[in-house]
């Protein structure tokens, strides 16, 4: 029965991505529908300034969601990314305000500090979760508190500000109306897509999410792959911290509260299965857009922030229900 499609699929060698495109088509259509709806019913939605606005607003969530995709693909979850981001920001804020260095040096130092802080938190999440085979839900809930406490401790609960001008410039720079920070996020999406779809590492992450035991019995160090997934998630929290600082020119220890939930929502709306093994980072990109467009459009339409939150919640539930039917369809 599959003879014709066989011929079609043979020469391209890309059925993996073709399938993921088909899987993502539904989410893409939903996003298109939203854009269409808001374009018709609001005056300013398609205004270039508003588009720039949306892109800026979704950037941090998108960066966090890319890392979250790795963790959810191996069947885990990371509740700590919001706090880790704040912790990384505060550490970077301390570095950037160090006296006696030139602006380029402190900026570099701050970036390294933020990414390192994120890396360490992610590594710890991964090591503890994998070594004792504990639910990542609980471990990262612990890390959520640890990182938040550490952020408050390091900063003495004070917001850090007055960064070099070049840093602020990076945060507000645009290329043809597209924020540079968004391009950073987009680059991360593409990199993640490449890693997940084109490398042995990515393939085995999918494998672990589907059937960890089979991957282990095939001789792969499942332990380290899972640690790597959590570490990547921590890393993206560090990168998000840099972007956050550059955009707002502050490093606040109470930044990022609840960001983990938005990141998870983007991943789930994007069609990645919470039980792991199925999904794609392209879906996550679309998911982040759906959340961003909804938030922006509903405000333009005149709904209150409370209503907006309710509607986002409804969208998450609908996404999961759709995922249930997709999984059933895939089984047939």
């Amino acid at each position: 029965m599959a003879e014709q499609s066989d011929v079609l699929a043979e020469p391209t060698g890309r059925d993996f991505s073709i399938r993921s495109i088909i899987n993502n088509a539904g989410i893409g259509l939903a996003l298109l529908g939203l854009i269409l709806f808001f374009s018709i019913f609001t005056e300013h939605f398609l205004n270039p300034n508003n588009i720039t606005n949306i892109l800026t607003q979704i950037t941090i969530n998108l960066i966090l969601a890319v890392g979250m995709t790795f963790v959810i693909l191996v069947g885990g979850i990371d509740l700590s990314v919001g706090s880790v981001m704040a912790f990384a920001a505060v550490v970077a804020g301390k570095a950037i305000t160090l006296p006696g260095f030139g602006p380029t040096e402190v900026i570099l130092l701050a970036c390294i500090a933020a990414v390192t802080a994120g890396f360490v938190c992610g590594l710890l999440n991964g090591l503890i979760t994998s070594y004792w085979a504990l639910p990542s839900f609980i471990i990262t809930l612990g890390m959520l508190n640890i990182a938040r406490g550490a952020a408050l401790h390091v900063s003495d609960a004070q917001t850090i500000y007055s960064f070099p001008f070049a840093f602020e410039e990076f945060g507000s720079a645009q290329i043809y109306g597209v924020p540079v920070v968004f391009l950073v996020a987009l680059a991360l999406v593409l990199l993640a897509w490449f890693v997940l779809n084109r490398t042995v590492f990515g393939r085995l992450l999918y494998g672990i999410g589907n059937n960890e035991e089979a991957v282990r019995l095939a001789g792969h160090p499942v332990f380290w792959y899972k640690v790597a997934a959590f570490t990547i998630c921590g890393l993206t929290a560090g990168i998000a911290a840099v972007v956050y600082m550059a955009r707002l020119n502050i490093a606040s220890p109470i930044a990022g509260i609840g960001f983990e939930l938005n990141a998870i929502a983007a991943v789930i709306i994007g069609g990645t299965s919470l039980s792991g093994g199925r999904g794609s980072v392209i879906g996550t990109l679309l998911g982040a857009f759906i959340i961003g467009v909804l938030a922006n459009g509903l405000i333009l339409i005149g709904l209150s922030d409370f209503m907006r939150q309710m509607i986002t919640g409804v969208v998450i539930i609908i996404a999961v229900i759709l995922d249930y039917y997709r999984a059933r369809y895939a089984k047939k």
Partner: protein, 521 residues
């Protein structure tokens, strides 16, 4: 007591069937569980249903007892069309099943279990314990279980007694047809004998019995007729007096597999010791003594034993999946330590696990990805996947194993059981292992694929690969093995050479001196 009941009068020779099934079909998605089943039951006979695992016996029983509806065909019971809507409906028609897995409530008493379907009540609507116990007593006495106290909890009884209580429960309501699904699977020889006496006495009361078993000697001991299943179809029904066990096996497995099995493994050169196991103790082993054996290149070593004998645990220990308590493993004469499957694989060992859904395959991933799972180095360069190479490897592996698939990128779940197993084999064969460990290599595999898998394994041995095979199917072990080790309770109870192979010899060793312990548990 001698009762050949309501039949007597209206019997002509041919149309006296109590139950007749014609052209019965039942599909689950694309899987044809029943694909044209026809057979009939004469009143008061003991009728055997035999066939390989997955041949359709269990599905038929579930259809007859109202668990599944059927898609096509006809069932006539007592001259009227019979379409049981649910198990209760089947029971009211007098069709009772004693299932393979127990449906007893362990913490309740024997009496409570027997009356569970219709508890007797007092006038106030309370449980009438006295009446319940009385009924249970009657039910147990009817099958000769006079020594069991009806107030005892089921938990306190041995496996054999539990089985008999299931039968007592089934017989308590008026049944015309009693279906016994593998009733002897967990019984010792002595208990089996007792069960057979009970079967005979039930038969004498005019109840028609359907007996499902893997053991042909049992079928020949107590049955009147036998219907043979293969791949969801009934092949034939024969009078026991007109056939032989060999004839039945031939029908069960089909011509091709029969040939594979009759030829056994041809004589071949045995090489050096590939794997030396010395006093290996897995953590589950309750004894101090471990297991020792040598596996040679170009040799098939079969491992037999009952469920719980420690066969799978041994294999997992060797492959480095579970930690070992003590003992050494020598590979080509050099002591090695496998701290995980990775080390074992690096030493040229492959492991086809018992459970392909949980351990062998990633069902949702493409066939090609499953085959490359243990061969990432073949299909990648500096960590990047080479999709072309991956497909090429999968196609070559598929060709070698006669894999039947739609597209090589279809998910593994799209394949039949036999073809899924071939994918697992292909995964390991692509590594050219020196030693291949197989745990139940043909479980849930249809007979066609089974014959092909046997042929593949024989081919591997000719190439000098060392095979270590665990199987619960004795004919399979006797076909493939050069030697068979029999395990019981994590100990080697004996080793049989080819000339000594027989089911009887294997079972004797497998039950060992522990017959009593096994039975009463």
């Amino acid at each position: 007591m001698v009762a050949v009941q309501p039949i007597g009068e209206e019997i002509s020779q041919e149309t006296d069937n109590l139950l007749s099934v014609t052209g019965l079909k039942k599909h689950f998605g694309g899987v044809k569980a029943l694909d044209g089943v026809s057979f009939s039951l004469k009143p008061g006979e003991v009728h055997a249903l035999v066939g390989e695992n997955g041949a359709g016996k269990s599905t038929l029983i579930k259809v007859l007892s109202g668990v599944f509806p059927f898609d096509a065909g006809e069932i006539i019971l007592d001259g009227a069309p019979y379409t049981p809507a649910n198990p209760h409906n089947a029971k009211t028609h007098g069709v009772q099943v004693v299932h393979q897995e127990f449906n007893l409530l362990d913490h309740l008493s024997v009496a409570e279990n027997i009356s569970i379907e219709a508890m007797p009540k007092t006038r106030l609507g309370l449980l009438d314990r006295k009446e319940m116990n009385r009924r249970a007593r009657v039910a147990l006495d009817a099958i000769g279980l006079r020594d069991v106290d009806v107030r005892a909890t089921v938990q306190s009884l041995g496996i054999a007694h539990r089985q008999l209580i299931e039968i007592a429960r089934a017989l308590q309501s008026e049944s015309t047809i009693l279906i016994l699904d593998e009733p002897t699977a967990t019984l010792t020889e002595r208990e089996t004998k007792r069960l057979f006496e009970i079967v005979q006495s039930i038969k004498a009361k005019g109840v028609t019995i359907v007996f499902v078993s893997h053991h042909l000697n049992e079928v020949f001991a107590i049955c009147d007729r036998v219907t043979i299943f293969r791949n969801g179809k009934t092949i034939t029904t024969e009078e026991i007096s007109d056939t032989t066990p060999t004839g039945v096996v031939r029908h069960m497995v089909g011509r091709k597999l029969a040939e594979e099995m009759e030829h056994g493994i041809e004589p071949h050169a045995r090489g050096d010791v590939a794997l030396g196991i010395k006093d290996l103790c897995v953590t589950q082993n309750p004894h101090d003594a471990g297991i020792s054996f040598d596996l040679h290149y170009g040799e098939v070593l079969g491992i037999a034993g009952l469920v719980g004998a420690g066969r799978t645990e041994l294999l997992r220990g060797i492959f480095g999946i579970d930690p070992l308590r003590s003992g050494t493993i020598e590979r080509d004469g050099i002591p090695v330590k496998f701290s995980g499957p990775r080390d074992a694989i690096a030493a040229g060992i492959g492991f086809v696990t018992e459970d392909r859904k949980d351990e062998g395959l990633i069902l949702e991933m493409p066939i090609a990805a499953n085959i490359s799972l243990a061969n990432m180095h073949n299909v990648s360069a500096s960590g990047l996947l080479r999709f072309f190479k991956e497909k090429q490897q999968a196609r070559e592996g598929g060709k070698r194993l006669k894999l039947k698939y739609g597209k090589i990128t279809d998910p593994a779940s799209s394949l039949s059981g036999g073809n899924q197993q071939k994918v697992v084999l292909a995964k390991w064969l692509a590594r050219n292992p020196k030693i291949l460990i197989l745990d139940e290599p043909t479980r849930g595999v249809d007979v066609g694929a089974k014959a092909e898998i046997y042929a593949i394994l024989k081919g591997l041995v000719r190439e000098g690969v060392a095979l270590l095979i665990v199987s619960s199917e004795m004919p399979e072990l006797m076909t493939l093995s050069d030697r068979i080790l029999v395990l019981a309770d994590h100990q080697v109870k004996g080793a049989l050479e080819r000339s000594e192979f027989s089911e009887e010899n294997i079972l004797k060793l497998a039950y060992g001196q522990n017959t009593n312990a096994e039975g009463i548990s």
